[in-house]
Symmetry: C2
Subunit: 424 residues, 2 copies
Amino acid sequence: MINLESLYSANARNMKKSVIRELLKLIQQPEIISFAGGLPAPDTFPVEDLRKAADVVFTKHATKALQYGTTEGDDDLKAELIKFEERQGLKLGKDNVLITSASQQALDMIPKIFLDPGDYVIAGRPTYVGAIQAIQSYQGRMLGIPFSPENDGFDMVELEKRHERAVRDGKRMKYIYVIPDFQNPSGICWSVEKRQALLRFAYRHDYIIVEDSPYREIRFIGENVPSIYQLDQQGENRGIVINLKTFSKILAPGVRIGWIIASPVLIGKLVTAKQAMDLCTNVFAQKWLAEYLKTGKIYELIGKTCDLYRSKRNHMVEMLEKYLPKRWDLTWTKPEGGLFLWIALPHYIDTDQMIHKAIARNVAYVVGSAFYFDEPEKNAMRINFSFASVEQIEEGVKRLAAVIVKEIELHESGPRGQTSPEGL
Amino acid sequence: MINLESLYSANARNMKKSVIRELLKLIQQPEIISFAGGLPAPDTFPVEDLRKAADVVFTKHATKALQYGTTEGDDDLKAELIKFEERQGLKLGKDNVLITSASQQALDMIPKIFLDPGDYVIAGRPTYVGAIQAIQSYQGRMLGIPFSPENDGFDMVELEKRHERAVRDGKRMKYIYVIPDFQNPSGICWSVEKRQALLRFAYRHDYIIVEDSPYREIRFIGENVPSIYQLDQQGENRGIVINLKTFSKILAPGVRIGWIIASPVLIGKLVTAKQAMDLCTNVFAQKWLAEYLKTGKIYELIGKTCDLYRSKRNHMVEMLEKYLPKRWDLTWTKPEGGLFLWIALPHYIDTDQMIHKAIARNVAYVVGSAFYFDEPEKNAMRINFSFASVEQIEEGVKRLAAVIVKEIELHESGPRGQTSPEGL
């Protein structure tokens, strides 16, 4: 019989299954309250408006919508996206935009065009697992940078230190990957100062910045901070930022449409890569979303989604304060937007181990270790607050708190008892 | 300023823009009759039936269709596809099927999981340009095998000879890529004997066969031949065939949905690769096509499409016979299915050069050289007969014939006149 292992590429041998997607299969039972997924609240989906927009496509553009389209993306959709971005202060031409099958496709294209095996990407510790997977699938590596204690972006001293060491060690770095707005998994939002500092760092060393912004519009507290793409555009305009956007969190993930914003020369290279990857993105979905955007209803939808997530986030934070033990070594982020917060637990807790106990108590989270390229920190978890209902949030946090409290007790009584038993 | 070239990966430097897609941009003017594209006839798109199916999704499954789905693909769609394949004699379980963003995504995933830089794929000369591009984008190489004079598959003697030499030269081969049903670009359909011979060859050398079947259902003359996947399944059942299917030619390319049929272990590996490429395929489109398939109307649609393409193909062949000069060194294939035929011209004609003259006469084809990984043959062209109307076919062939006749005249008078002018 054929020996498949001997046929697989080094890329394939380097691929890792997503811990999250495997976990999600485990927790399908209805009795489990899951804070694990990254799902938007389905009650935000504007079903009737989307039905009407689809109907316009069938009536007016059916033949085009069902035929092949260009690799670059549908011109109507691009025109609408340019208007959408203009409201956020971005000036874009058609050549600055490439439509993708949501952001994950972009996250796959970028290492493909930049990374040779062993090349490095500079990224946060922790960072989005889908970006890690894509980088691994091209045998890329990651130089992890911790966040500052102020939760306002990278620890810039650590960035300089680790970068310098990496350069000294002959590591070849290509781009910096960041999610400045309400990072997955931490919920952290970068300050404008940190964004500017990162841009200067990239200028100095000739790196590309990949700015992944799936949650940018989902801000429910505080004021908008300019994107790094904007800071470059309004400043030296060197065109080194690739900004990734998607409809997944502001409209619906099932439509699988995202867009890349970048300089025309980078878009050109990405188009060449994309030709061989899919010829073109779902043409029907592009025409459909163009019609939906023309109605202007997305702004109201985003407003409503932010209202809903604000109340869920507030409730989640309140419940964590109510049920979790008050200790200096048990903290959580309080995001101003997005879908996630991050709980850091006492150092001796291993959330990879604890997840089985949590599932036994019918509550689920994503293990923190999933968000590290290497040397994972084991004492953290990602908590999603967009999907569960208000009632589920309280009940779920109660269950989670019970699991954590028990884990702390186990440690604080257990090991001492075992390692230095009285009388020996 | 940043030097992008120094940041690009070897993959990126190896990527080539599709000649076809660049050509298609050139020939957008309405006065040009194009035989260049690979577009299905838009009058085959079942707009009203698709509208009804979409409406069922909005009414019954909206929340699921707009949410994230599994990487493997929607269970409803898979169930319908399993029934669809069963009518063609294939027995499949859920684990044998992976939904993709049409076949091009599959053509991108396969070299990703099998090819290290410099690894070889065995493929026909000529072969589908999208497969060549995808293989190049992972720095793969191709061992080209000519087709037999009978147009019934590879020249098996050449396959053995070239393969043996490649093995002797230390070339590392991983899989065989073929389009046995009405190949793009040649229109050739493999005989069952050649399919079996290729399967035995693959068994003997432990290669995977990638059987790309976008046109399989579009047979308008003659009897179905079992797919190589079927021959393996009904024979030794070694599970080494990966069969690629798509809705692009049997329904509509704009829906961007295809499916991979393979052994569960290969599907598992492809799923891992796909997680990092797109998380999941367009969920709405999957639910939509599942609803469309449930109506059973696809069989009637395929029948009508075959009728239409048969009449266009017959007309095209008739017009070629009527207008092209009758010469032993000017031949064309007469496909029993699919969308394309292949014209081989006298050896001295360079269709790369001639395309500009053709466009000047308002007719377009795809240059034969596009379909070769290396050492392209320059005296051929691919002709599409599915898209142009019956009237356009006659007028287009007339224009094309005029260009070819002039090119032949130019050669047969010109060079002789120039190289040995009388009186010198």
